[in-house]
């Protein structure tokens, strides 16, 4: 296996990208990544594009070749869409990583895209709910806010997590994204505002939830031994892990633990020969405030049940023990579902290059955690800057 590095990144802002199509935003992010890498389009040997619900929301499928043609990639390039709900572009990165690591390609373009804001909230809720098992709990009208509400109430019951802990996650992430020009929301929020926002799935309120967004993000991968020829600050991928969790809530022994995250984290730390305390900055999958708390425990940053208290103690802020989601996360940067995984990677790469608008001081090792559906899919990647 060869080492794999990131030599170029590209993105659109996340938010309401009025008048811009799915094809257009994906092309913009990919083009930016290729230009930043300083390679010719002709050098790209494979393309993986993560996307979740463009078939349902836009009636648009077969989008990998669609975007490749829009970009002008050579026709011999194999183009593949990957889908794993909100983890789609985490998987795209993983697939590209495998190809380069195996020595089957030198330059691989990976991207993610979603166009959501042209559809209604109900249509989006329906599209997202397609990730439930439609033969079983999908029939009940369970939603993703509902799924995480079930977890939240159980977490509060088992560990004494407070409703204020959830609100504080939202307050932190809204505060973080005030500095991030790529974020959908740039305004601070208060605990009172979060608590007074309208109910979505009891006990989760609007400000506990990620925001439907448009967006695209991309990266160019190459073998680590030649990465310095293309980038002044190549970022090495120390670990790439991809796991599977339960498809239904009722089959989980304890839904306050998402096993796919626990397993992916274990594999990633082993591969990188690191421990959770070695991570300087993390972008993790805060699709809901409770998800950030659960993820921070499952990734080993805090003991199970202590995640909410860690937020209260300020441990997850920039400057804290483990800064979590300095970008604003899915809650405040936005969650264009198929683009989110690589959007997180974009933020981590900026952090490790020392170029982030909300910079974590001396960030040398970063982690990204991308989760799909009921924790059915998870990827964890660990990155390192050189020198």
């Amino acid at each position: 296996m060869r080492g794999v590095s990131i030599i170029g990144i590209g993105t659109t802002p996340f938010g309401i990208l009025e008048g811009k199509s799915l094809k257009e935003i994906a092309t913009i992010a990919c083009n930016e990544a290729i230009k930043e890498a300083g390679i010719e389009k002709e050098a790209v040997e494979a393309f993986y594009l993560g996307n979740f619900i463009s078939g349902i929301l836009l009636g648009q499928e077969t989008i990998a070749p669609l975007v490749a043609n829009s970009l002008g990639l050579p026709k011999q390039v194999p183009c593949t869409k990957v889908e794993g709900a909100c983890c789609s572009s985490g998987i795209a990165l993983r697939q590209g990583y495998l190809l380069v690591a195996a020595g089957l390609a030198n330059f691989v373009l990976v991207a993610g895209v979603e166009k959501m804001t042209s559809a209604t909230t109900e249509k989006n809720t329906e599209g997202l709910a397609s990730a439930f098992d439609q033969e079983t709990e999908g029939q009940t009208g369970l939603t993703f806010p509902g799924f995480f509400a079930l977890i939240a109430r159980r977490h509060m019951h088992q560990y004494g997590t407070k409703i204020e802990h959830l609100a504080l996650v939202s307050v932190k992430n809204h505060g973080n994204s005030t500095a991030n020009p790529r974020a959908r929301f740039r305004k601070k929020a208060t605990v009172e505002e979060v608590m007074a926002s309208r109910m979505v799935a009891d006990p989760l309120k609007l400000y506990d939830c990620c925001s439907i967004s448009d967006g695209a993000a991309a990266a160019v991968l190459c073998p680590s031994d030649i990465a310095h020829q293309f980038s002044r600050k190549p970022i090495d991928i120390l670990a790439s892990a991809h796991t599977t969790g339960f498809s239904t809530t009722y089959e989980m022994d304890d839904p306050t633990i998402l096993m796919a995250t626990v397993m992916a984290a274990k594999k990633a730390y082993e591969m990188a020969r690191l421990f959770p305390q070695d991570i300087h900055v993390a972008e993790l999958h805060d699709c809901f405030t409770i998800a950030e708390i659960v993820d921070s425990e499952d990734l080993g940053f805090f003991e199970k049940g202590k995640g909410g208290f860690a937020v209260e103690d300020g441990l997850t802020q920039v400057g804290g023990k483990i800064p979590i989601n300095p970008s604003g996360g899915l809650i405040s940067k936005g969650h264009p579902v198929g683009a989110t995984g690589l959007g997180q990677v974009y933020e981590i790469v900026k952090q490790l290059r020392g170029e982030h608008e909300n910079q974590v001081r001396n960030a040398g090792i970063g982690l990204s955690h991308n989760l799909g559906a009921t924790g059915q899919v998870c990827t964890v990647h660990i990155f390192k800057r050189r020198g």
Partner: protein, 111 residues
């Protein structure tokens, strides 16, 4: 929305390892055995966790607000279900519930 349906709560028991499953299952994901026998459950359980849905998918929009719970069955496994709740009733973790029916919306329980 409360269409009539099955009045009995039927689970599947694996003929190989004895594990209970919520149907449908083609085979036992635990041991791989392909014979799964119908098992009549008592229909009794308690609330493991619950939520009230206020923002629903398009097809469920007219039903909001509605209650969904994970019900811990007496038999030891859980099932995701709708709860038929009277306005004066409140849900709570641990509260006993009993099976009502299964229809196009899945399983229904009541307090």
């Amino acid at each position: 929305m409360n269409m009539p349906g099955e009045e009995r709560l039927t689970l599947l028991r694996c003929a190989g390892c004895g594990a209970l499953h919520v149907p449908p299952k083609v085979l036992c994901p635990k041991c791989g055995h392909e014979v799964l026998l119908e098992h009549s459950a008592s229909g009794l359980g308690n609330i493991y966790t619950f939520t009230t849905i206020w923002v629903a998918p398009e097809a469920f929009k007219k039903q909001v607000p509605y209650e969904i719970a994970l019900v811990q069955l007496e038999e030891g496994i859980k099932v995701t279900a709708r709860i038929n709740k009277k306005p004066e009733e409140t849900l709570q973790i641990g509260k006993p519930v009993k099976f009502l029916r299964k229809n196009n919306l899945g399983y229904w329980f009541e307090l």
